[in-house]
């Protein structure tokens, strides 16, 4: 019994949800606000839940089918009969895609339900759910496609939904009258375009080199060519497979850097927090931004061939001496540290989480670049749980603060009109404090999320983060060592900024009257939070490690792993690089199969120390009031050059930029470009050319030609008119002579 035939439903259910909320939603809500919202919200949630059930059925089908991948062909998409070339629209059901489907639809369903409560009363309620369903639709295309082209369709589609949802409140303006949400959406869209361009180039390269975009065909052909050491012809040049795939992996890195917010394209993600909080949780934390990681894991064969080519010293198979995957690993690790440091100085509750997301995505990208594909997916899943939890928790906090603010103003609006003019930002952590008594459920689940993110035993984040660190520490090579050190620093930063955040939000005393009046959110919002908290607590069981080498060896001898390494045994059916390593074609970095106690101890101690440092030392007393400075502000630069990141930035990068910009504007642009080039070269050249054209070319050349042709006609006519005597006999003579000549010709020529 299998349910592979149900796979198309995975896409059909969200599509129905989009249509329902686009066409029926506005009418329902206009007719009756409260019940209309119920129908619109629950219908969309139901579609997400149904898609989740389909994914669950696919999961059991795969188990029953001995994990054998299946491709469900829907129709032929691009057909070129003359070239015998077809790109089908097909759904690939294998362990990797089903994992992604489960995460996307599972976390997605919870966030849909939460959003019914969060978006209550919003004028765009139905539009919001239509967009959310549309996002699910495209995300499922992305993870289920069997070709790079289908993946790209989903990739662009989720980019579109991201743009629509970041700018969901597109009419909101800030003090300067700028439509900041719409601007943030545009920024995300445009930054992503840069990465997408790299994706297109990568696909073109793959197609030229291997003649297909189908995952199976590309990987098969790449392995064949690589194993036989054959060359491919590109741009009329013979190139090694290693060189092509190094270029492809670098281009994939750029594409993933856009979508998954890595250096240098991470700038869009913090701004994307302008969207409603459920969007931040679903798109900008749990699912869409992990698309880049999925791409890397999906392309594991290409990455491993690129790595092996560099090791073998194949011609052209490295960039500045490093292989493509090395660049991926270093980019991810550097992003993890940089974003972790930037998060120290943020005051917006969601911006902290945004930088945290960038940092955690850095962990995943680094893991994929190190060949730790299972660990990358493991961290992707647990991160989806706890980061969705944290974002939804922050949404609950914001909701509570807004309610508190509203409550305050209802009571004293008649005699306190100036309060209206006062700016209140419900997302500013400096106005919070002491919320643990007001919002007990939110506090409890937020603590679970924080501990999971900080990597404290036994929460989910501990296991997944530890697996990545263990992978980095057990492999030899300077890249792995560098990544290990960077990621350990990033893990320390993670615990620190999360400690700072919970201290500022939940502990101490309220620093604003809104915080005093804040209240717990409705059950429709807290139940999804509790489910996500449970997942964040238990997520580690997905890929529970062996504690000792002997336990692993005993289990291997008995061919029974129990609950241990579940995800690894599940995913290894999709990650072909494992099989290629066994065949000896490539040599993947070694994956640790039992727990590295020293690594786990170091990271746990660092995390606890960072939490203690944040909660107990740096933020113990301050900030007490909303206007008080952050203790880290104004720290001398030698203390931590990057810590007051903004100060550092304002005093080094900005003046240099300003100076160069002024130089460019005044000297280069003003004096040189405008005055000299414009007047002396462009204008004078233009005028000179115009004069030449008018006085020489036109007067002599063009006019001469026109008048000359007239004069020529006149002269020829004056000569020819003499033949027109007007005497009939002259014409007759002509006719006779002509006849004679013709006759003579016919007689003598033949």
């Amino acid at each position: 019994m299998n349910a592979f035939g149900l796979a198309p439903l995975l896409l059909i259910f969200p599509a129905i949800g989009v249509l329902f909320n686009t066409f029926a939603g506005p009418r329902l809500i206009r007719a009756e606000r409260k019940t209309g919202e119920m129908y619109a919200g629950w219908f969309a949630s139901l579609m997400a839940i149904l898609a989740f059930l389909v994914a669950v059925m696919l999961y059991f089908s795969l188990r029953a089918h001995d994990y054998h991948a299946e491709t469900v062909r829907l129709f032929d998409w691009i057909v070129v009969p003359s070239a015998g070339f077809t790109i089908p629209w097909a759904i690939q059901v294998d362990t990797l895609s089903v994992t992604m489907m489960l995460v996307v639809t599972g976390v997605g369903s919870l966030i849909h339900i939460y959003a019914i409560g969060y978006m209550h009363g919003d004028p765009g309620f139905h539009r919001f759910f239509a967009y959310l369903n549309l996002f699910l639709f495209f995300m499922l295309i992305l993870v289920s496609g069997s070709t790079y082209l289908m993946l790209f369709v989903g990739w662009e589609g989720v980019g579109l939904c991201s743009y629509l949802l970041i700018g969901f409140w597109f009419d909101r303006v800030n003090e300067q009258g700028k439509v900041m949400n719409a601007d943030a959406g545009r920024k995300a869209f445009v930054v992503n375009r840069v990465g997408d361009f790299a994706m297109v180039l990568a696909m073109i390269l793959l197609f030229w080199a291997f003649g297909s975009l189908d995952f199976g065909a590309v990987f098969g052909s790449a392995v064949d060519l690589f194993a036989h050491g054959e060359m491919v012809t590109l741009f009329g040049m013979e190139m090694t497979v290693g060189a092509v795939l190094t270029a492809v992996t670098i281009l994939f890195l750029l594409g993933a850097a856009g979508k998954s917010a890595q250096i240098p394209f991470y700038v869009w993600l913090p701004d994307a927090m302008a969207g409603p909080t459920p969007v931040s949780a679903l798109i900008h934390a749990a699912t869409m931004v992990t698309a880049g990681v999925y791409l890397m894991v999906r392309s594991n064969v290409l990455l491993e061939i690129a790595r092996q080519s560099t090791l073998d010293g194949v011609a052209g198979a490295s960039l500045l001496g490093l292989s493509g995957p090395d660049w991926i690993a270093l980019t991810g690790a550097a992003t993890a540290v940089l974003a972790g440091l930037i998060a120290f100085t943020q005051f917006d509750i969601k911006k902290v989480l945004a930088y945290s997301t960038i940092s955690q995505l850095g962990f995943m990208v680094a893991a994929a670049g190190m060949g730790a594909y299972v660990a990358a997916m493991f961290h992707l899943i647990t991160h989806a749980f706890f980061k969705a939890l944290l974002f939804l928790g922050s949404g609950s906090v914001i909701h509570g603060m807004e309610h508190g603010h509203h409550h305050v103003h209802e009571h004293d609006h008649e005699h306190d009109a100036h309060h209206k003019a006062e700016k209140f930002d419900p997302q500013d952590m400096r106005t919070m404090g002491g919320l643990r008594h007001k919002m007990p459920i939110t506090f409890a689940v937020y603590m679970v999320g924080t501990l999971a993110l900080a990597g404290i035993f036994p929460f989910a984040g501990f296991w997944s983060k530890d697996e990545i660190l263990a992978h980095a520490s057990t492999n030899h090579g300077s890249i792995f060592t560098a990544v290990y050190i960077l990621l350990t620093v990033a893990a320390f930063c993670t615990a620190f900024y999360m400690g700072r955040q919970i201290k500022m939000i939940f502990f101490g005393s309220p620093r604003h009257e809104a915080a005093e009046q804040a209240s717990e959110s409705a059950p429709i919002m807290t139940y999804p939070l509790i489910i996500l908290a449970a997942l964040s607590l238990l997520g580690g069981l997905l890929n529970f490690p062996f504690f000792t080498e002997s336990a692993y060896k005993a289990a291997k001898a008995a061919h029974s792993f129990g609950i241990n390494l579940g995800l690894e045994h599940w995913l290894e059916h999709s990650i072909t690089a494992f099989a290629l390593t066994e065949e000896g074609i490539v040599h993947m970095p070694h994956t640790p199969t039992w727990m590295q106690v020293d690594v786990a101890l170091i990271s746990t101690i660092l995390a606890l120390a960072a939490l203690a440092l944040a909660v107990g030392v740096v933020y113990r007393k301050r900030p007490q009031t909303a206007t008080e400075r952050d203790p880290l502000q104004g720290t001398p630069i030698w203390w931590f050059a990057i810590l007051p990141f903004e100060w550092f930035y304002m005093h080094t990068v900005v003046p240099a930029f300003k100076w160069s910009a002024r130089w460019l504007a005044e000297v280069l642009d003003g004096a040189f470009w405008h005055d000299f080039v414009h007047d002396n070269i462009i204008r004078d050249l233009f005028v000179g050319f115009a004069k030449f054209s008018a006085n020489v070319l036109d007067a002599n050349g063009v006019d001469g030609l026109v008048n000359g042709s007239g004069r020529l006609t006149h002269a020829v006519g004056a000569v020819l008119r003499k033949t027109q005597t007007g005497y009939a006999r002259n014409y007759a003579l002509g006719v006779f002579l002509g006849t004679v000549i013709l006759l003579a010709y016919f007689i003598f020529a033949s």
Partner: protein, 103 residues
């Protein structure tokens, strides 16, 4: 003897008549004379037709002669009408006076 007059004689006479007609058309100024010369050329052709028809034992030439005579009659009717009209307007039938097409 009848048989001594061979096809060559007829052709020679036809050529002679045609040449006289052509010269008349080219050299004379009187429109009537030119007209008559044209008729002579047509009839020289008729003579050649009939002679060859007889020589080849084929009636096609004889039939064609009737067509030529018919066309010549029609032409005379139109041509004489033109000449009469020209005489009425110009009081002359010298074609040298009809040179309004001079370039």
């Amino acid at each position: 003897m009848f048989s001594t007059v061979t096809i060559d004689w007829y052709v020679a006479l036809s050529v002679l008549l045609f040449t006289i007609g052509a010269m008349g058309v080219l050299m004379r100024r009187n429109a009537i004379i030119i007209f008559m010369s044209v008729e002579m050329m047509l009839n020289s052709a008729n003579l050649a037709f009939v002679a060859f028809a007889r020589h080849l034992g084929d009636l096609d030439g004889q039939v064609l002669t009737f067509f030529v005579i018919t066309v010549a009659a029609a032409e005379v009717a139109v041509g004489l009408a033109l000449i009469v009209t020209i005489f009425r307007t110009k009081h002359s039938i010298s074609i040298d006076e009809l040179n309004v097409l001079k370039g």
